[in-house]
């Protein structure tokens, strides 16, 4: 590993991607390794089979609150009809006052997040000042766009959502992306992943951006529960193993994650309120005659 010193004309500036390029270490457009194994498998199987062969992250969401943003995700990665991982992380910090959550091909997504985090801190260190929230949102759009060709060819889609507290305007902001790198800022909430249809409905019925952070956390947990209840690929709370969703709270104080115990307590509270579910299947609730 050398000490990269550049002449003024060749200086890559504060971009980490630019640095990789300047060092001749860019395996592809984004600097994200192309995962040779994936390409090999792809050539011998249909695209639709392939999509099922890799771990996929499933439901993530970001909800605006009056103090900032709540970012949450379940912990399951799914490979076709198998569980790829029960404990995967889909929610990550990005800089001091923002976070990113990912749904889609897990390996690719984790690599993208790592690259994104690194790009943010690299910029901050070289420039001596943190990249603005808008700058971060745009940087992520470029990474997703850079991943586009690969996403289309291999079916390895990565769908991030980005949320942060904007210190210049003093409010939480949330962004979603499409696979082409399109960046869309939303006002109330964003969801992504296979369980997003159900999570969206749950959030819509309960949440408003005027809610406090504790209320917003409850809405986020409930939405993940209902997504897991309907979508087989999304993991619900795993009481047996003690695995619970990741909940990050981003406010003027910065990014922080709730402890697993804290999330477990909130889930217990939530489950106690779901009497109607528990009755289903009980003898007094049978709809027809037993055969």
């Amino acid at each position: 590993m050398q000490l990269p010193i550049f002449s003024p004309g060749e200086d890559p500036g504060p971009s980490f991607e630019g640095l990789l390029r300047a060092l001749g270490e860019t395996p592809n457009l984004t600097g994200i390794p192309t995962m040779g194994g994936v390409q090999a498998v792809h050539s011998s199987s249909k695209s639709s089979d392939l999509v099922l062969d890799f771990p996929h992250g499933t439901t993530v969401l970001a909800l605006r609150s009056q103090d900032g943003v709540v970012l949450a995700g379940d912990r399951q990665a799914t490979m076709g009809f198998q569980i790829g991982s029960r404990t995967i992380r889909k929610v990550f910090p990005a800089g001091s006052h923002a976070g990113v959550a990912i749904a889609g091909a897990a390996g690719q997504a984790v690599e993208l997040v790592k690259f994104f985090q690194l790009s943010i801190s690299h910029y901050e260190k070289l420039e001596g000042i943190a990249l603005s929230l808008d700058g971060q949102a745009n940087m992520l759009a470029q990474l997703v766009r850079g991943n586009f060709a690969q996403a289309v060819m291999s079916g390895l889609l990565v769908m991030p959502i980005f949320a942060g507290y904007d210190q210049s305007s003093g409010q939480g902001r949330i962004f979603e992306y499409d696979v082409t790198g399109g960046r869309y800022e939303e006002h109330e909430f964003v969801v992504a992943g296979s369980g997003s249809v159900h999570a969206r409905t749950a959030v819509k019925l309960s949440h408003k951006p005027s809610h406090t952070t504790p209320e917003t956390v409850k809405h986020a947990l409930a939405a993940l529960f209902w997504a897991a209840d309907e979508d087989v690929a999304t993991g619900g709370p795993d009481v047996l193993r003690g695995i619970y969703p990741t909940i990050a709270i981003i406010t003027a104080d910065g990014y922080s994650e709730m402890s697993e115990v804290g999330v477990a307590d909130l889930f217990d509270e939530f489950l106690e309120q779901q009497d109607s579910i528990r009755k289903v299947g009980q003898p007094e609730d049978q709809l027809g005659e037993a055969p």
């Binding site: 590993m1 050398q2 000490l3 990269p4 010193i5 980490f16 640095l19 990789l20 060092l23 270490e25 790592k114 690259f115 690194l118 801190s121 690299h122 260190k125 070289l126 001596g128």
Partner: protein, 230 residues
Amino acid sequence: MSMTAFGYVSPEQMMADRADYARKGIARGRSLIALSSQDGIVICAENTSGTLRKISEVYDRIAFAGAGKYIEFEQLRMGGVRHADFKGYYYSRRDVDAQTLANLYAQLLGLSFTQQGKPMEVEVLVTELGDTIQQDRMFHILFDGTINDRQNFAVIGGDTEPVRTRMEETWQPDATWPQALAKAVDALAGNERTLTAAGLEVGILERSKIGERTFRRLEDEEIAQMLSQA
């Protein structure tokens, strides 16, 4: 004066001239101190500029400090950040260490001293925070690539000897970082001068933050507050 002597400079004389040139450039600036304390490494520099910094973050546990010509040590700082980020990306975050970086700086400065048109007028300090005070590392690299491994504290730039002598008298292993900062400021100031927060630049590597980015830059208000408490 014979014609044969014209234009000829002996290697000894050339090196001495170059060293003289670099030393003079570096001595024009003010000193800076890095010192270990119970809860982290404190780096303190005299610097009236709020934007042209001498102390910076390189990596999770590593900080950089430069003395001498700003644009020259700034180039070294950027190279260090790039080296560290690239290495951490390629291998893992744990594989990034101060010693490798210090060696790279020493090589570059050594080459520059002997082979470039003019030697670089800089001294740099690479510090790495350890789990304990005994594991803290400080590498002081001189303009000619000479590398020194310092313990407890390091003084670079400006007129180092009186500052080092004062620091030697007051450094204590059990100081907290605000106490360490106060001692560093006293050592920089000497008996005749008083330094205020506005004329200081302070960065710390905090032991309590190990596992994430440990570097933090102190704002003037916080420096003033710490100095008034200690």
